[in-house]
């Protein structure tokens, strides 16, 4: 993703905002049923449509990170059974992605992820509106303290998510993705029960991928099951390359933690700049994603996140930040090792 000049970016966001219709005006007042997850079924239907309906369109995605905002335009084409193809501009990269991933703009979250979303937030309908000329239903995702965490504009005729916004704890939009134009495949029709294409066969409607966790703990890996911001561990894998991949999500955001044994070779970090956080040094770079690297206790941690900056900061602070061992620690460790070497029962 290329960083655009601020003026150009603001102009583009304003134009695109006008093109998709003013979501503020499109949002109707919350209905009386906000006490229940009245919007969950709409999200579920849009998630299924993002996989099963054919469509072509243009999206823009803007993310506000620690160091500014980043935007890109995506030309997307979804062919049921073949997948979602994304052509990103200005990078020019073309790739086929899963619509349930950050690369697919989280257009089709799994059933298990929707359940996690409903467990951590209240998902309520909040009226309707229009986005890129199409009638839409607005769904608001609220935190337990009733602050707004996300907004979804869902195609009223059974199409995918038309616009999606994530907000941080201060009410600022930190991620927005919306269709500028969308053409639904007429041959597929809407997602009514009688005409919808069957869902992609799957042994399960999503779920935890934590089968390796016991073996990882036996192997000496230590990692938390939950992180600040109601982030729950959903996957843990030790790669053959020698690193550990952990995935956390709260139903909205996705945080990946990569742990490598070793010490960080800071001299070879190109494009990253150090920052002091809570007495520790972390490395960050200017990008759309929240990206952080640091070293702790003989391991190197790398965090990628599609999440608000305040949530990422809390996550980084919650993970280990062990300083280099002091003299007494080292002497004590040496004594322990010597004793273990000479202990015939050890």
């Amino acid at each position: 993703m290329t960083r655009l000049p601020t003026a150009l970016l603001l102009a583009a966001v304003m134009l695109l905002g006008m093109a998709v219709g003013n979501p503020v005006h499109a949002a109707a007042p919350p209905d009386d049923a906000e006490g229940e997850d009245t919007g969950l079924s709409l999200l579920r239907r849009a998630a299924v449509a993002a996989r099963t309906r054919g469509y072509t369109g243009t999206q823009y995605v803007t993310a506000w990170g620690r160091s500014g905002s980043f935007s890109l335009v995506l030309e997307v084409r979804n062919v049921p059974g073949q997948g979602l193809t994304v052509h990103a501009q200005p990078s020019g990269r073309v790739e086929r992605v899963d619509p349930g991933t950050p690369a697919g703009n989280m257009a089709a979250p799994s059933e298990a992820m929707l359940e996690v979303l409903a467990r951590n937030y209240r998902v309520v309908q909040a009226g309707g509106g229009r986005v890129c000329g199409r009638p839409a239903r607005l769904v608001r995702v609220l935190r337990p303290d009733d602050t707004l965490a996300a907004r979804y504009w869902l195609d009223e005729s059974g199409g995918p998510v038309l616009r999606r916004e994530l907000l941080d704890g201060g009410g600022r939009v930190v991620h927005a993705g919306a269709f500028v134009d969308l053409t639904l495949d007429p041959a597929r029709g809407d997602a009514s029960p009688s005409r919808a294409a069957p869902p992609t066969p799957s042994p399960a409607a999503g779920g935890l991928d934590l089968a390796e966790v016991p073996r990882l703990f036996v192997g000496g890996w230590r990692f938390p099951g939950v992180l600040p911001g109601r982030l729950e561990l959903f996957t843990a894998h030790a790669a053959s390359a020698g690193y550990l991949h952990l995935g956390y999500s709260d139903g909205l955001s996705v945080v990946s933690v990569f742990i490598q044994p070793g010490v960080l070779d800071e001299e070879r970090l190109r494009g990253w700049h150090p920052q002091r956080r809570g007495g520790h040094t972390i490395w960050m770079r200017d990008s759309a994603g929240q990206e952080t690297i640091w070293a702790s206790g003989g391991h190197v941690y790398t965090v990628f996140a599609d999440a608000p900056a305040d949530m990422v900061d809390a996550v980084v602070a919650a993970l280990p930040h062990e300083p280099a061992p002091g003299l007494w620690t080292r002497l004590g460790r040496g004594a322990h090792r010597l004793l273990s070497w000479v202990n015939p029962f050890g």
Partner: protein, 176 residues
């Protein structure tokens, strides 16, 4: 100027600076008392300077020489006037019961003992250094590789991670 007082001795010893000496000499020109005192001091010092040094007793010289020879420790010092008077079992101090401090050397071979003690200290310090060095080396971190995270690969893996992978259930609600 007042009388010379203690400066009379300094004048005789030549310890006054030029200014003080000039003032002292000018005072002596018209002060007979100070002049007499200076003369007396000068005569006394000349007399002391002419005396021979005290002769060292032969037995003292021999006993000092024997102290330099190797040998056992000195016997405990005996009180010249042991306290024999007691009251209720407790000794009564008398004018001779408090012995003067024993300033004699604790052994006859002070030089070699000092050297031996220094050797012990050196060996102890060296042993401690070796022990601490061993603990320091043994307690060092395992040889860990220096790594740079494969950021592009990690980013790609993150972007293509489907949380709680699997599609959503086709649960349909009536189209509004």
């Amino acid at each position: 100027m007042s009388h010379l007082g203690e400066r009379a001795s300094a004048l005789v010893d030549g310890e006054l600076n030029h200014h003080e000496r000039d003032r002292a000499l000018s005072h002596l020109a018209f002060c007979a008392a100070c002049r007499a005192e200076v003369d007396a001091v000068r005569a006394l010092k000349n007399r002391l300077r002419s005396l021979d040094g005290p002769a060292m007793p032969a037995d003292l010289t021999m006993s000092l020489l024997r102290m330099a020879e190797p040998g056992g420790p000195l016997p405990p010092r005996e009180r010249p006037f042991p306290s024999s008077r007691t009251f209720g079992g407790a000794p009564i101090p008398s004018m001779y019961s408090v012995a003067p401090p024993d300033n004699r050397p604790s052994g006859r071979a002070g030089g070699p003992r000092r050297a031996r003690r220094a050797g012990y200290v050196a060996v102890g310090v060296a042993s401690a250094a070796v022990a601490i060095g061993t603990l320091f080396v043994a307690g060092g971190s395992e040889p860990a590789p220096r790594v740079v995270p494969p950021v592009d690969m990690f980013a790609n893996q993150h972007r293509n991670t489907a949380p709680y992978g699997g599609p959503a259930k086709p649960a349909f609600s009536p189209t509004p």
